[in-house]
């Protein structure tokens, strides 16, 4: 049977204890080592269960998408844009086509099987968000995630970056947005940072201004 240590790949809490000057009391030293090993084991377990959960969620999305893909393309579009309130621009981008292509589909234009599945996947994703108690999933997808100053990233942007499962983790409060972005888009802190922020100008319309250091 595997011991907790055999799972550990990198530096661990128990490694740190080994380098630590032994406490005078052998009992205290033993307890500290045991606690560190347990902490390593808990982290490993958390990581393993998260991976398993993410795999299951990905499979769940795909199953739901396959079921939804049986519906017609105009039906799927009606659900996404009229019932849910997704924008045509975001819908098109998330499926990887142009806005005019999507609008043509509404009138009966041909969509590829991939595009149809893409629409179905998006619709399935919104269903899942609703099940996670997100009251208005299309609205939530457009609201910027709570991130440090300098970043305006919405769930819809994360979806474009392939972070479907990450979106579910954020919606269910299992992971914070920074953690999800670190996993899905490792360079995001440099690549997606902006020196500008959007503010409301005296005429009531949006304006850009250079972000002031805090």
């Amino acid at each position: 049977m595997n011991t907790p240590q055999s799972y550990v790949k990198n530096a661990t809490a128990s490694d740190a204890v080994r380098d630590y000057t032994m406490l005078e009391s052998p009992t205290a030293s033993y307890t500290l080592r045991q606690a560190a090993e347990l902490d390593d084991f808990a982290k490993m377990l958390r990581s393993a269960t998260r991976e398993q959960l993410q795999d299951s969620q990905q499979q769940d999305i795909e199953k739901r998408a396959a079921a939804k893909a049986r519906r017609s393309v105009p039906d799927l579009l009606r659900e996404l844009t009229e019932d849910r309130g997704m924008s045509w621009i975001d819908t098109a981008q998330l499926v990887g086509v142009s806005v005019s292509a999507v609008r043509k589909w509404r009138k009966g234009g041909d969509a590829t099987a991939d595009s149809r599945l893409g629409l179905a996947r998006l619709a399935a994703m919104l269903d899942l968000l609703e099940e996670l108690a997100v009251a208005d999933p299309a609205q939530w997808m457009e609201i910027p995630l709570p991130l440090p100053p300098g970043y305006t990233i919405r769930p819809v942007d994360l979806y474009k970056l392939g972070g479907l499962v990450g979106i579910l983790s954020i919606a269910s409060n299992r992971q914070d947005p920074e953690e999800v972005l670190d996993e899905t888009t490792p360079g995001w802190r440099d690549e997606l940072r902006s020196d500008f922020e959007v503010v409301t100008a005296p005429d009531g319309l949006p304006a850009l201004q250079r972000r002031t250091p805090r």
Partner: protein
């Protein structure tokens, strides 16, 4: 220095090339053929609308004068590197006519034209939302040498882009529901209807445009209202 951005593909730059549906509202980045620009000399030319979308209209109607940049062919081809290294006073329009020719719009020769000239059947291309942000980024750089991230430009433009999207959805429903009416007339009436609806109840719907977190609700309300309104008219 942060580089000016490039689209990942030409398709990402354009919303439409060739025919553009008449229900698509005239917007920044649209390219028109056969437009007379008196200040640039005689003869028709191809131009790109460069006026900011917030400034193009007064309510439902276009301003009398709209600023455009002349479009011309250039040699060679535009690759990803071209966007960040060359043509800093231009908007790059590769494959504008769904071809392999490289066109640019020149910001140094921006001039006003009468909006009545910009008839929708002369429109040969419309930019995507991302393409419009690229145009704005290049215009800002040409005027000030400042690079503004296109993500933030897109955030700032979200209210007006949503308004245009809602207008298009509304007008599509109206035109489809009136097959026996001249499409131009149905379109013109539906644009007026849409803006009147946005402004009713002390501009209640129009105010929601400024709050991105209300856009999903506004989209649902707009589509529902248009469907009810034009279904009734059809009967």
């Amino acid at each position: 220095m942060r580089s000016l951005d490039a689209p990942s593909t030409i398709d990402e730059l354009y919303r439409d090339r060739g025919a553009v549906e008449i229900t698509v509202p005239l917007a920044q980045g649209d390219v028109f053929d056969r437009i007379e620009v008196p200040s640039l000399g005689t003869g028709p030319r191809t131009v790109q609308v460069v006026m900011h979308p917030c400034s193009l209209r007064q309510g439902a109607t276009l301003r009398k004068l709209i600023t455009v940049a002349p479009v011309r062919k250039v040699g060679g081809a535009a690759n990803e590197g071209t966007w960040g290294t060359k043509y800093f006073n231009h908007m790059l329009l590769p494959g504008l006519r769904d071809d392999t020719v490289f066109y640019v719009a020149d910001f140094r020769e921006v001039a006003p034209v009468k909006s009545e000239q910009l008839v929708l059947n002369s429109r040969i291309a419309a930019l995507s939302g991302g393409g419009t942000a690229l145009l704005q980024q290049r215009m800002i750089f040409a005027l000030t040498r400042l690079v503004v991230e296109r993500t933030q430009l897109a955030v700032a433009a979200a209210p007006v882009l949503t308004e245009l999207e809602l207008q298009e959805s509304w007008c599509e429903i109206a035109v489809e529901a009136s097959p026996s009416v001249d499409p131009d007339k149905a379109l013109s009436e539906s644009i007026t209807d849409f803006h009147a609806w946005l402004d009713q109840d002390s501009k209640a719907h129009r105010r929601l445009l400024q709050d991105v977190s209300r856009h999903a609700q506004l989209r649902r309300d707009t589509m529902r209202e248009a469907r009810i309104r034009y279904a009734n008219r059809k009967q």
